[in-house]
Symmetry: C2
């Protein structure tokens, strides 16, 4: 039984993979196994991974695991930070702060050759990083070698300000891009890379820092309003409360629902 | 009276500019002045440069200056080498040969970090150039800093094979990209740059080397057939003759017309 990924590639359906991602989202081993088993019985040849996600989410919903369901939807919610890359940069800056970095966003610096815009400047332990954020708002696109190469060239142009370059993407990188980054010494954080605790989704999940776009109580339009008012994370919603959402132009009913949902997600992410 | 450029920018209509480009395409000073004068009387506020081109071409056609008209259409014919960048790379390789370079296209080389594809390798006077061809198939897009930066990073990765990097684009470059290239020592040839004899269009016009897509006797489909058969220049059509076009799958009538038109263009380009 093969499934079709967002990139259009085919791959054998592997229930372990679905289980792992459910466990990563906070499901118990038992729950994850149950759901993966049920999904395995219901899928068909050529089903898309998006459709599998939808079925798995439905099963979580049926079991009343609302918050878990929301967290499971992390990848898509990060895509929905677009279309521009700016909210993603802001999100990354907040994430890095959680890990003890001092950050500044959208800094313009005079390079050796030209003036350059740096998405995030991050400092920790006496090291200053030039962080290039690469945001794609569709699945199935990998960040490629060219991005890694211009990041390196930008770093060379700005070398007097920085100790290291760091490329952070919301998608996967191509193998070539990963190899290149290693070779020239660019730190690379992207979807599912590096494997384990330091991939983008692990960094996010370990701090329970979810993008505002994960909230189902806000529609597309309301999410856009929130983003343009600088409300980028669920934490911003919980801390700012209903008033902040109202002043962003969101209606009271949606604002109240969003704060309630935000609290639910925050509680769950602290409990696991 | 302002005109709207392909990029969407506005600019004052300047008849000298139209005259210069007509002269560059081979018109006498008198003819160019006449046409520019007539065009100036017929245009309107907010007219697009494309529309101005159409009017000027029409005036050339009325005067029986068919070949000149064809040559005038150079920029668009290069755009039509797309959608893929490969015919443009091939065209550039042929162009560089005309200037005494030894060339190879699409060479894969093992860099210090990763394996890299070089569009054109060009050698002359004991120097080897890594040529990066950047092709856009729409007007109004400038080649930007990122392209210049990844070209430089690619050059650094392949440094042991090459003496210099060379970026050749069919569009204009941004000012930043030009400044960056100068600063890191990348040779840059693009539309209207460097000013005078060494811009892309001057290099092409001085050798009378026109892309096959300039021929009006072939329709879109026939041009595609020609390109995929490796017939990239008008010279290929003239040298190969009707037979070559037939074996590319083009009908006899169109093939005969194309060869006749190709001969016309070649004669004109030699006479001026």
């Amino acid at each position: 039984m093969y499934v079709v990924k967002a990139s259009g590639e085919r791959e054998e359906f592997r229930p372990e993979k679905l289980m792992r991602s459910l466990i990563r989202a906070g499901a118990s081993r038992e729950l994850a196994a149950q759901i993966a088993g049920e999904v395995a019985r219901e899928i068909w040849q050529g089903i898309t991974t998006r459709e599998i996600l939808r079925i798995a989410l439905e099963k979580l919903r049926e079991r009343g695991e609302e918050a878990l369901m929301l967290r499971y939807d992390l990848k898509r919610s990060i895509m929905n930070l677009g279309p521009s890359g700016y909210p993603f940069e802001k999100f990354i800056a907040v994430l890095l702060k959680k890990y003890g970095f001092k950050t500044r966003t959208n800094v313009v610096l005079e390079g050796k050759c030209v003036s350059q815009e740096v998405d995030v400047v991050a400092e920790r332990d006496g090291l200053t990083y030039m962080v290039e954020c690469k945001f794609h708002n569709r699945g199935g696109i990998k960040t490629d070698l060219k991005v890694a190469m211009y990041t390196y060239a930008r770093f060379l142009d700005l070398k007097r300000y920085f100790d290291r370059a760091w490329l952070i993407c919301n998608t996967k990188c191509t193998l070539e891009a990963i190899r290149y980054c290693k070779c020239v010494g660019i730190r690379n954080t992207s979807w599912a890379y590096p494997r384990g605790r330091w991939s983008l989704e692990s960094l996010i999940e370990r701090k329970g820092l979810y993008p505002v776009t994960i909230l189902r109580s806000l529609d597309e339009e309301e999410k856009k309003l929130a983003l343009s008012a600088g409300i980028v994370t669920v934490e911003d919603v919980v801390t700012g409360g209903v008033e902040t959402l109202l002043s962003a132009g969101i209606g009271r009913r949606a604002a109240v629902a969003a704060v309630r949902e935000g609290n639910l997600i925050s509680k769950l992410s602290k409990s696991c």
